[in-house]
Every structure is written in C-alpha cells, then in structure tokens.
C-alpha cells in the first residue's frame, strides 16, 4: 500500500441517507486513498458500494438528494461545494450498463463529448480524444455507432470518454456485469493499463474477486453501509477469510481451496489470491 504518496481521496465520518429512506445508505466511512492505488471495493448487494462511489464524483449530493454527514475531499476539492461538472475533471465514472452512458451517434464524438463541455480549444480537444483512443485502443472503432459495438467495446469507449476529461481517479462501478468472462478480462486490463501508463488511481466495484485480484493491491469491504475491512488484498484474504465468506463475497476459488486444505493441515502459509500463485505454491510441494 502506498500510504506514503499524496492522499487524493479523504473521507472522515462520511454518511448519507437518501431522501425518503429509512436507513442511511452509508455511515461512519473513514477512508483515505493515495495516488496510483488500484483498489477493489466489494461487499454484498445493497451494502452501499455504489452510494460511496456516487459521493466521490458528487452525484451525491448534487444529483441525489438526502442527508449528508461528515466530510469528503477529492483531489483537494470539497465535494459538497462543487458541482458534478467541476468534479468530473478530477473523477471519471464508468457505469455498469454500457448502453446508458454513450450519448453521441458515433464513438469519436462520444469521446469528445466530455472535453467539449470543459470549454477547451478545438486543438486541445482533438489531442485529448486522440490520446484517449490510443490508450484504450478504440481508434479503429471511431466511426461506429454505439449500438454497433459489442458490450466490451462499449465499455472501452466509456472508459475513453471519461479519460478524455483527464481525471486523476477513475471509478468503475461493476463495469463487467453484462460481459462475457474474456471480455471482462479485457476491460480490467484496460483499467490496469491506465494506472501503469498514466499513473491514475483506479477504484473498481466488483462482486467477483477472481476478476480483480490480479490487479488490485488493496481491498475495501463494505457491509450494511459501513467499511468492515480495508487493507492489503492478500492480507485481508488471508486473515479475514471467514468474515468474507460469511458476507457472501465471492472469494477466488483457489483461495477457498487453499483455506480448506489448510484446515485439513495439508498446507501452510498465506492464502493465494490468484491461480498462478496457488499453482506455484502447490507445485513446490509435489514430488512428481
């Protein structure tokens, strides 16, 4: 974990209750996220993951009304006093349903849509669009209409669209729910690439840990609106394995297998988080 680097998101005692709701969607959230982190945010359905993400780019409280408590600073900006359009320069948001986040009638125009709102010069917009298309490999699609794309391509275009806003943080809220496993993998790789190449902070919301475990080094687990675990992914998987299982977090199958064998007294040591890890650990114990 890169605690040493500059903090880019800081939440103190953050809470929010939607207007008309009985219980708060999130409460007593203390969270600090540094630059260039890759974080997996998970928890059972209805635990408040999406609500927390909405706070990060100001959709809460600008778009959704309700009771706000505590404070949240994103990139040095106080979320409660900034319009979402201003926060969009800091936080890019990729939604679950690819169909409902592309507006223009072709890919290139869609990617240009965000920067056009920022009042930039035409040359600057051109440069940003080209850069975003390059990093997400969406250039070859630029003439196509959104409905002509596959789900995976749509999500890559959505990623390019938020990238062209030059944010420091990208939030992906269950970006692969509608995709087949191979395409889901491609989208995760594209997100990881953004951190490696552009040094962005990536926050992914996902039920399926096996999909993200390879890329994320930190995991934040929520339940009933609160953070119940936060730390190094390998460490949390190892130490809080039973808690995660009980919450209904889909732990990677290799981690589950290891923990069963450990209970049997057949293996020792840390729970592996992905297949390669487990394979090399088990191989070393085999005699032909």
């Amino acid at each position: 974990m890169s605690r040493a680097s500059r903090e880019i998101i800081v939440a103190r005692n953050l809470g929010f209750k939607y207007a008309g709701a009985k219980k708060p969607a999130i409460q007593e959230i203390d969270l600090s996220i540094g630059e260039k982190e890759f974080i997996l945010l998970t928890g059972p359905s209805g635990c408040g993951k999406t609500s927390l993400c909405r706070c990060l780019n100001g959709l809460i409280p600008n778009f959704y009304q309700g009771e706000w408590t505590g404070e949240l600073m994103v990139g040095g900006l106080d979320v409660t006093t900034q319009p979402t359009s201003e926060l969009s320069r800091e936080v890019g948001y990729v939604f679950q349903n690819p169909e409902n986040q592309l507006f223009a009638l072709n890919v290139e125009k869609d990617i240009a849509f965000g920067p056009e709102n920022l009042g930039l010069t035409r040359g600057e917009i051109r440069a940003r669009v080209d850069e975003a298309m390059r990093v997400t490999s969406t250039g070859p699609l630029k003439e196509l209409a959104p409905y002509e794309l596959s789900g995976g391509q749509q999500q890559r275009v959505a990623l390019a669209g938020v990238l062209a806003m030059k944010p420091n943080i990208i939030v992906l809220d269950e970006p692969t729910s509608f995709l087949d496993p191979r395409t889901a993998e491609e989208v995760m790789q594209a997100a990881d690439n953004l951190r490696k190449e552009l040094g962005l902070t990536i926050l992914v919301v996902e039920h399926r840990l096996d999909l993200v475990a390879r890329y994320a080094e930190r995991i934040v687990v929520m339940d009933a609106g609160r953070i119940v675990a936060d730390g190094n992914l390998e460490q949390i998987l190892d130490e809080k394995f039973d808690t995660l299982e009980a919450l209904g977090v889909g732990v990677p199958r290799v981690s589950l297998l290891w923990s069963m064998l450990r209970t049997d007294g057949l293996v020792k040591g840390r729970v592996p988080t992905h297949v390669e890890d487990a394979a090399s650990a088990l191989s070393s114990m085999m005699t032909d």
Binding site: S150, P181, V254, L257, V275, A279, L282, D288
Partner: protein, 277 residues
C-alpha cells in the same frame, strides 16, 4: 420432452442465428447453454417456448409442433424467465405480479390464490406480497420475475442469465433452488456466462458458437478444454487452470469444482507427505 430436430433459424435481417441444432431436453435434466455474445443462446431459448419458430426443421414440446400451438399454450409447459426483470414487472403488488400468468392461463381464483401463496413462500417473498415490485432491490425483483413464471408450475424452466448482478449468497440460494426443481423431475435450462457458477453446479453443458453446437458434455469435460473455451470467449474456471498446471504431477486435468479439487489434493498431498523420509 422438448425436441429440436435439425433446427435452423434466420432472422428477417438475413442473419443465420441457429444452424442445424439437434437437442433433447427432458424432466430431471439440468442443462447450461454457454457461448459468446451473439452465439444464438437467447434465440435458442425462444425456439423452445414458441416465441420464434424454426425456419427449417421442427421443435416439439411434448410431441406438439410449436408451429401448431400458440405461445400462450406453450407457456404453461415451458417457463422462460427473461434476464432483466424490468422487461416484465408492471403490477401494483408482488402478489398481482405473480398471479398475472395464472390468470392468463384461465385458472380459477381459488387456484390462483393458492399457487401465488405457495410460490411466494418457496422463494422467500411472502413478506413483500403487498409491496410494489418497483420498491424492491434488483436481486428481489429478479426473484419476483422468477416467481411469476414458477407459479404455474411449468415442466420446463428456462433461465436467461440468472446470476447477473447477484452476489455470492444470492447465487448459492439460486443453486439450491434449481437443484430442488430438477430433483422433483422438472427440467431446468440456464443460459449463462458464469463459468464458476456452472463449475460448481455441475449441469450438462452445451457450448454454442455462431449458431452451432460445438460441444456437449459434463461441466468438467467441456470447461477444461482450452480450445473450446477460447472459441466461445469464456475463460476456464480457476480450478481447471490450476489443475492444468498440476497435471504434470499426475493429477487429472478435467477438474472444475473446488470440492473435487480438494479431495484429489488431499490424497496427493498425504501421499507426498508419506514418501518424504
């Protein structure tokens, strides 16, 4: 029994969505249809309840040709649960929603009421019976949609992507429910991308690619084959990837489910321990 004989289907746009499909589904079967996006999975499901009729070949449901009976008649026997509950929920209360199909089928009010109660009970929805379906969470709405089909007790149940957006506990509940249905002699067909769910539920797997069946077999035999899995844009389940590496130590390759993996490794590791001086 649902029988597809040499079924081909071409959309009016000219797209050949299904090409020469032969398939049998009978009571007690549990089948997973897997394939890439656009492989023809949903088109295949729609052939089974008559929403689409084959361009060539024929589909028989309990010996009746689907071209000769209405969808409403077939729907009593073949329940098709759509992926997104938003496409079908419209009633004021959960109770009315579940009663909708039964009323369409012309059941007596007493029967409707009894069936609604039973189904809500079975799916753990009784507490919501007077609630509007629109106030429920995504997972609950998916269950209401399922209940609205199950209420008329179809012999064949087809589920289109039932695990999308569901967390692990919800999937576990769904798995148990499916198990219950097919052990009662119903047929359950599910269309899915969820390889881990399939690996742990162990249905018969049918792989569909570009409108053709490219493989049929048990989950461990089909999902552990690299060339098949890659062809339909899936990835192998974690256990299968692990055992691919471990196969050089004399372990089998075709392991997809964690419990079988555990048994094999227990044996192997105990053996290894015993041979170490």
């Amino acid at each position: 029994m649902i029988t597809l004989e040499h079924v081909s289907f071409r959309y009016p746009s000219g797209l050949l969505a299904l090409n020469n499909i032969d398939l049998n589904i009978q009571g007690g079967d549990f089948v997973a249809i897997m394939g890439e996006n656009g492989a023809g999975k949903t088109t295949l499901a729609k052939q089974m309840n008559g929403l689409l009729k084959p361009s060539q070949g024929r589909v028989l449901v309990d010996d009746q040709d689907t071209k000769k009976v209405s969808v409403a008649q077939l729907a009593r026997k073949v329940g098709l649960v759509f992926q997104n509950p938003d496409h079908l929920l419209f009633s004021e209360t959960v109770k009315d929603e579940v009663a909708f199909g039964l009323k369409n089928f012309g059941y007596q009010p007493e029967v409707v009421e009894k069936q609604v109660e039973r189904t809500l009970e079975a799916l753990g929805l009784t507490e919501y019976k007077d609630t509007s379906p629109f106030l429920l969470s995504g997972g609950e709405r998916k269950r209401v949609a399922l209940a609205s089909i199950l209420a008329s007790e179809p012999d064949y149940l087809i589920l289109d992507e039932p695990t999308i957006g569901q967390d692990y506990l919800q999937k576990e509940r769904l798995r148990n429910f499916i198990l219950q249905l097919y052990s009662q002699g119903k047929a359950v067909v599910m269309i899915t991308h969820d390889v881990e769910f399939v690996a742990e539920s162990n249905p018969k797997v049918i792989l569909l690619s570009k409108g053709e069946i490219v493989a049929t077999g048990s989950a461990d035999s089909v999902l552990s084959k690299d060339e098949l899995v890659t062809r339909v844009s899936l990835v192998k389940p974690q256990m299968s990837r692990l055992f691919g590496t471990l196969s050089r130590y004399g372990l089998p390759r075709d392991v997809v489910d964690v419990h079988r993996a555990r048994m094999l490794l227990e044996e192997k590791l105990s053996e290894a321990k015993a041979t170490v001086p």
